[in-house]
Symmetry: C2
Subunit: 174 residues, 2 copies
DNA sequence: GTTAGTGCAAACCTTTTGCAGCTCT
DNA sequence: AGAGCTGCAAAAGGTTTGCACTAAC
């Protein structure tokens, strides 16, 4: 089990298994992935209302430095926070839909090939690799096309005076 | 030329080519890559002392939204800032040495394969992809090994009383 | 009993926003 | 002329730090 192997690794290095860390490790383990510091903090607070946000940051930093979790950005779709996942699974890429935010995971041989080629090409020792891909998922592609079309109609409908070709306004989140 | 194609693309969309933007575009273009907002700002200030940091952020954001530059994290080796590079070159991965900070670029077929496989596997439309790899470069691997060895000697030399196996202290930047 | 770890408050760094005034086209 | 852009100041968001106290081993 993942949790146990992480705990073991920590214990072995003389890192104390405090109550707070137990809570956080358990959450990271069972929630699976894509938790950022704030969400993790909110979840942890339910189990221990006194647990501090700073402890969450410190724990995550320690786990990352120990190579026990990986840090992701998920293309900053939501904001500039970081996401964490335990480092057990096979290497995988994260595929983020820039319209609905859905995150998929891609495991596949190109990833291993990539790693190997980089190692042999540069004589580089790869410790961590992160591949993030942004675009539109199958579902959003059609919705997106419709949105663009609607926008075009609106813009043309506005029938502006001179200005030969109307510079289209860009849609914007938030 | 890159600069011209960017300028053209902007003009075409009715984006104004202000003095500030000309300066910033020129810097981004000729400095090549791996500039973050602050460095870009510092460089720009030399050409126009009144140019504001906020303008740099706004310009970068606009260029990114227009798909004219790519945003990188470079594994947050230095800090949490973002780096930018023009989007002309073929897709490539960034390989960052976690000891000396050197950044290499890797172009190679696994990247194209990866993209294609993701597109066909999920029916996903890939707009941008970012692969960052961290580890030790050929040069630092040997230095690193020596460092670890020295540290081990030091720790053993300290001849601590009980505590059978000494939990090694981790080296730290900053 | 030690020493690592925690909580709290406050700082820090990067980036964004509101608004008045300036400037491209 | 007028929308788009800039500068300024101030805020926001995410994360880190200093320090005294607490708890794991």
């Amino acid at each position: 089990m993942v949790l146990d192997s992480i705990k073991g690794s920590l214990k072995e290095r003389g890192v104390r298994l405090t109550r707070q860390r137990q809570i956080l490790l358990e959450l990271i383990d069972k929630t699976g992935e894509h938790l950022d510091a704030e969400s993790l903090f909110q979840l942890a607070k339910e189990k221990d209302p006194k647990l501090n946000r700073v402890t969450v940051y410190r724990t995550l930093k320690m786990l990352k430095a120990s190579g026990l979790v990986d840090e992701l950005d998920l293309m900053h779709y939501v904001g500039d926070q970081h996401y964490y996942e335990t480092r057990l699974k096979q290497e995988h890429a994260h595929v983020i839909c820039l319209r609905c935010g859905k995150v998929e995971e891609f495991f596949g041989e190109p990833l291993q090939r990539l790693r190997k080629q980089i190692e042999s090409h540069f004589g580089f020792q790869v410790l961590l690799a992160r591949t993030e891909v942004g675009g539109y998922c199958a579902h959003c592609q059609t919705l997106r096309a419709r949105e663009v079309e609607e926008l075009r109609m609106l813009t043309l409908g506005a029938a502006r005076p001179a200005a030969a070709r109307a510079p289209r306004k860009r849609a914007r989140r938030s």
